[in-house]
Symmetry: C2
Subunit: 198 residues, 2 copies
Amino acid sequence: MDKPAPADHPVHDLIGGRWSPYAFSSEAVAREQVLSVLEAARWAASSYNAQPWSFLVGLKGDETWQGVYDCLVDANRAWASEVPVLMLSMAHETFPWNGKPNRHAQYDTGQAVAALALQATDLGLFVHQMAGFDAEAARTRFAIPPGHTLMAAIALGSAGDPDTLSVPPAARERAPRERGAVSTFTFAGQWGEEARLA
Amino acid sequence: MDKPAPADHPVHDLIGGRWSPYAFSSEAVAREQVLSVLEAARWAASSYNAQPWSFLVGLKGDETWQGVYDCLVDANRAWASEVPVLMLSMAHETFPWNGKPNRHAQYDTGQAVAALALQATDLGLFVHQMAGFDAEAARTRFAIPPGHTLMAAIALGSAGDPDTLSVPPAARERAPRERGAVSTFTFAGQWGEEARLA
């Protein structure tokens, strides 16, 4: 389902076209496509090029997929049961070369996942990230070492039919996308004062 | 200067083409282009659609630009003195509707900035984010409220001539881009075990 952003200023189709559906098809994602979305993450910018991101990748039917699925909250299990790829993103909180805190670890991991999602969009795929999962259960299940923060569970696949959704309702899937306008988060002079760019 | 990522798997030109130069042209960026890169940030994904990002935007010659510039460390001032747009990115650490911690605030702000950088790439512009700035000085200068974490200083502009660089040397500007391969950060079964996707 196309759901282009109602943008006030022109943005690239990938950026305007990316959105997070609940209705996924059970159709498998080709391994080459999974590699391409991870390759996109690879080339993100990061502070001191530390590349603090890592991913656990489950393909439907394998133990990793099941492990991620088992850690989801019920509300996410309700729509994610047929998603062909489930991943977890993690942020390494220290620089590997000196062990000092990397205060951009989460920020840079977000940058990597944003690129992953846009690459998926280019492939005709969709990404839906979830905050709703049991991070401590996932840490145990996948032996994730201390210092690597569990960030998001990530669904990847083709779009499905909104009419098959029980939770959330199809109406929500079809609702317009909403964001605060640029003027609400863009300041000059001091924080909270609108930058008059237009 | 084009410097496409030497990718192992196909990625979209925007993703492979984005890199962080030190050599910027002093040529101004059109306000419409500044608005487009901020619009791209606007449409990023965020946990509960909280949109935790904000930006201070300085255009060369205005007080905001000077304020950001003044907060940079010397090594960044050395190359950023002619950059036409200097910004700061901030992450709102709590949800605005209930004041509870938003553990994805920095991650989602990173996602927004990644989209901003790719939109810049599409416009033929470049972004260089900097960790090297005095965040507390910036907080005071711009009256940034508690709960909004200063993340990065962001240079935006057209590419310049690497031969004009004193710091860092032009050789570094021309060096190949490097990242760990997908196999180094993509795991299955348990963390640290390579996902065999190829």
